[in-house]
């Protein structure tokens, strides 16, 4: 909040309107999710002097319990009908809105309503204002992410050690969810990926009734949310060893991951670790089979800034939490992806994901 108000001084707006759920939680502590894009559970209005959390009767009590430093205001009607009155009360002349969350249609409706006000209220797009603050984690956030990573690592280790041929992907995914729940997770961070055999060639595979077998790749891409903060980690494992081809693929992915990890440190361009990993994979002859970026930031959302890909370089900073997750996917045969979640510290990356089920192929 302090830093957001600091930003307000340098912006051409007098009021900031925050609708995006993770941004809203980051600033206010309000934990409610949105049912869908057109179904908001609340938004924040922040001026130099006042901070309102605007919600409706379904969420008033929850908001009063959860938010810190915000006055909870209950709307009797929808946003478009309620905002003009609230902005008049705040003396708003220029409202900054989140351009990556407010839809074109909602903007049109608001602009129409605001033109009728006297004095009229202008709408000014804001790009990544809170997302930029969220990039660098403070010490409280780091502790939450350590806890989230520790829980996920413990669960995944238990799953891997208990794997038996003949279990279905779906059943294993369900076991992961049960362990997450029992372990106190708020929820999964995203639907677990358990992908075996040829399914592991799909980076975003959905668990099926396929039974896992020996000698084939089995990829787990899993995450939990604890105290609001996500963990994201991936392992590919083999029961009773791998074929020569998949041993080579595994070794290549692991080498690429470790080489990228070695590079990560504050001040580096985000494209550098991606380039290092990509070159190793290309040199091993698998350049056509690594289609995605090396990694991404993690925090209140599973995917957030910064993105670590081959384009759009940004400078890595101390306090960022990012993933390092190269992969090789051979259509129809299978794939290997290995993902660590790491904290960027002064002298390099510290791995937060604790499971050590890696192979020395």
């Amino acid at each position: 909040m302090v830093s957001l108000r600091g930003n307000l001084a340098g912006l051409p707006v007098d009021t900031i309107w925050i609708l995006q759920p993770e941004n809203r939680r980051y600033l206010s502590g309000f934990k409610a999710a949105d049912g869908q894009l057109t179904e908001s559970s609340g938004s924040l209005l922040i001026t130099r002097k006042e901070s309102l959390l605007v919600t409706d009767s379904r969420y008033t009590t929850q908001a009063q319990h959860e938010v810190v430093d915000f006055e909870v205001v209950t709307m009797k009607k929808g946003l478009v009908e309620s905002l003009p009155g609230l902005l008049s009360r705040l003396g708003t002349r220029n409202l900054g809105f989140e351009e990556s969350h407010v839809t074109w249609g909602l903007h049109q409706e608001l602009a129409k309503a605001f033109r009728k006000l006297s004095p009229p209220v202008r709408l000014t797009p804001l790009k990544g204002l809170v997302e930029n603050l969220r990039e660098v984690k403070d010490s409280v956030e780091v502790r939450a992410m350590e806890a989230s990573a520790a829980l996920m690592s413990r669960i995944l280790a238990e799953i891997i050690e208990g794997l038996r041929p003949g279990e279905t992907e779906k059943k294993i995914a369900w076991q992961i969810e049960g362990l997450a729940r029992d372990g106190g997770a708020e929820s999964l961070a995203f639907p677990s990926i358990v992908a075996s055999g040829a399914n592991s060639a799909l980076p975003h595979a959905v668990p099926t009734d396929r039974k896992i077998r020996t000698k084939e790749p089995i990829t787990f891409d899993v995450g939990v949310k604890l105290c609001g903060y996500c963990c994201d980690m991936t392992r590919t494992v083999f029961l009773n060893g791998a074929t020569a081809k998949f041993k080579k693929i595994y070794r290549t992915v692991r080498d690429a991951q470790l080489a990228a990890l070695e590079k990560i440190r504050p001040g580096l361009e985000s494209t550098v670790p991606d380039g290092v990993a990509r070159e190793i994979i290309r040199n091993a002859g698998f350049g056509d089979f690594f289609g995605h970026s090396l990694g991404h930031g993690v925090g209140l959302a599973t995917h957030e800034r910064p993105r670590l890909g081959p384009e759009k370089p940004v400078t890595l900073k101390e306090g960022m939490v990012i993933t390092d997750e190269p992969g090789i996917y051979i259509p129809g045969q299978g794939g290997v992806r290995l993902e660590e979640m790491v904290l960027i510290e002064k002298n390099g990356a510290r791995i937060l994901t604790k499971d050590r089920h890696f192979y020395d192929f």
Copy 2:
């Protein structure tokens, strides 16, 4: 698809761009979810002659398995970089976009890129084009919703019959999820609400570690998704009877629900059943404690058109699936909500939710 192409003839656009996940699934069969708003798993481009599903390498194989009547195109770069080339290939001059899903920022980026094309491509907002088609269910969709409602009803009946004082809300919610998974549900339609005692006064309560007790209201608002289609239903139950006050509240809610149900038929304004229910609740002295609308449409999304509230009347049609869910919430004490999901047929509403755990207080 036939009906969407029919609409194309009457619209000022030559190409329709569909990004919203349920709309995309409705038209193409592509089941992938979007990670978040800024993380699309694909979109549709539809002209009079061609139908493309545009995705990236993470989803190509899944799309090829799932979509019917669409050509799958894999983008090598992001949407803003890839769309111009695809639109040139299609000969697009005027692209219709979903104004309730495309963000202001994405629209700006696309408009900028499209102005550079020769000939330039115009962007035209479309409001509720596919959402309107989704309002009325065809016979295949009705069967899916019947199956979804039957599964959810069976699960909830089992839960209610097994309730014992001392179990926590969280544990019961987890049992519901397990039964949904075992019953073959694709997923929950939304996080289950299990709210006991004073928690039941929160329409959107999140399950807690509170233990359920006798003589208090315990509200279950639950749904599963089966074959893509959602069920949404709510029951409030009491173990060993209710207090006189909550008996009166329950009777009032049930009377309101049945009176509204009686009214529902094709041709009726959507505000009428809401008004009937609201009047009964007001006459019983609880007018201040029913803050939400009477109901909403259900289908691929838990909440979709039409909305049945006190304002914005729309005409009810045969084939709509809607909820009838009045509630009374006394802050600090508890609440009662009863929700049926019904299909509007020629002569009135047919209840799809089968559980009959109601009281004759």
